[in-house]
Subunit: 163 residues, 2 copies
C-alpha cells in the first residue's frame, strides 16, 4: 500500500518535506514550524490537520497534509489541501496524482462536495496537472490575509467599537 | 454586548443571511444548505464551523462564520473567515469592522498568526475596507477546486494507481 496515514514517527520527515516545498515555492526561510508544533497539531487532543505519506520501496517519497474547510452555500465541510509534495527523486511516477486521488476518495467518503487547494499563479505546470484531473482555477477569488502588527492592532479594538 | 456566539436558535437567521450574501455575490441560487445542515455542522458532536452574531437593538444585524485552517510554514492553526455579512439596514455603522475585530481578538487569543478570508476580485470596495484595517491581498495565489463528476472520477482511481 503506497499511501498511508502519517504517524508521530513521520514528523521529522514531514518537516523536511515542508521545508523542501517552501524552497520550491521560493520561500525557503518562511518555515518556522517545529517538530513539537506538528506533533501537537497533528496528533494531540485537538487535531488541526491530517497527513498522508506516500511510500516507495519502504521510503517516504511524498506527503499530503489537509484540514476541513466549510462551505455555507453547500452546507457541508470540504477537504482543504494545504501541502502536496513529492521528492525530486520520486517525481514523474504519478505519486502526486495518487495522493490527490486518495484525498478525493476521502472527500467522497466524508460526503464533501469539494476538494480545494491554493496554487501559485506563476506555477502553470502545476495548474496544468491539476486541470488535467478536472480541477478548476477559481480566477474570480482573491485571498485576504491579516497578520502581525495589523492583526494585533485590530484585536485591541474588539469590544471598543459600538460603545 | 453587540457581538455574541451564535446558538441553535439563530440558525434560521444565519441561513437567511447566507442567502442574502450569496445574492449580493451574484450567486443567488448557489445556496443548497439547509437548517439541518447548519445545526449538525455548527452545534453537533463534530463542529465544522463557529458563528458570531452582531446585534443592534436586540435584533440580529449581521454575522461572521469561520473555521480553523492550518499553516505548515507557521506550525499553527489560523482563523479562516468563510462569511461576513451585515444587513443593508445596518450598514455604515462599523458592524463589519466590529465583527472583524472580534475575530482578530479570537485569533490572538488562540495564538493564530493569521486571519484569512476570500474576496471576489471585482469587489474593490470590500478590498479597500479590508486593506484599510491592514489586510493584504495575496495576489500571487489562486484557488483550485475539484468538485462534482471530476472529483468522483478521481476518487475511483484511488488505490488503483501504483499497483
Amino acid at each position: 500500500m503506497p499511501i498511508r496515514p502519517a504517524t508521530p514517527a513521520d514528523i521529522p520527515t514531514i518537516l523536511r518535506f515542508i521545508r523542501e516545498l517552501a524552497a520550491y515555492e521560493r520561500e525557503p526561510d518562511a518555515v518556522v514550524a517545529t517538530e513539537a508544533d506538528l506533533l501537537r497539531d497533528g496528533f494531540g487532543p485537538e487535531p488541526r490537520f491530517t497527513a498522508l505519506i506516500a511510500e516507495q520501496a519502504g521510503e517516504a517519497a511524498g506527503f499530503a497534509l489537509y484540514f476541513r474547510s466549510y462551505s455555507t452555500w453547500l452546507g457541508h465541510h470540504g477537504i482543504r489541501l494545504e501541502d502536496l509534495y513529492v521528492t525530486p527523486a520520486h517525481r514523474g511516477k504519478g505519486l502526486g496524482k495518487a495522493l490527490l486521488a486518495h484525498l478525493a476518495r476521502i472527500a467522497v467518503e466524508e460526503g464533501c462536495p469539494r476538494l480545494e487547494w491554493d496554487v501559485l499563479a506563476w506555477n502553470q505546470s502545476a495548474i496544468d496537472v491539476y486541470e488535467a484531473v478536472g480541477a478548476r482555477t477559481q480566477t474570480e477569488w482573491r485571498i485576504m490575509r491579516l497578520a502581525g502588527e495589523p492583526l494585533a492592532r485590530l484585536a485591541e479594538q474588539a469590544g471598543k467599537l459600538h460603545d
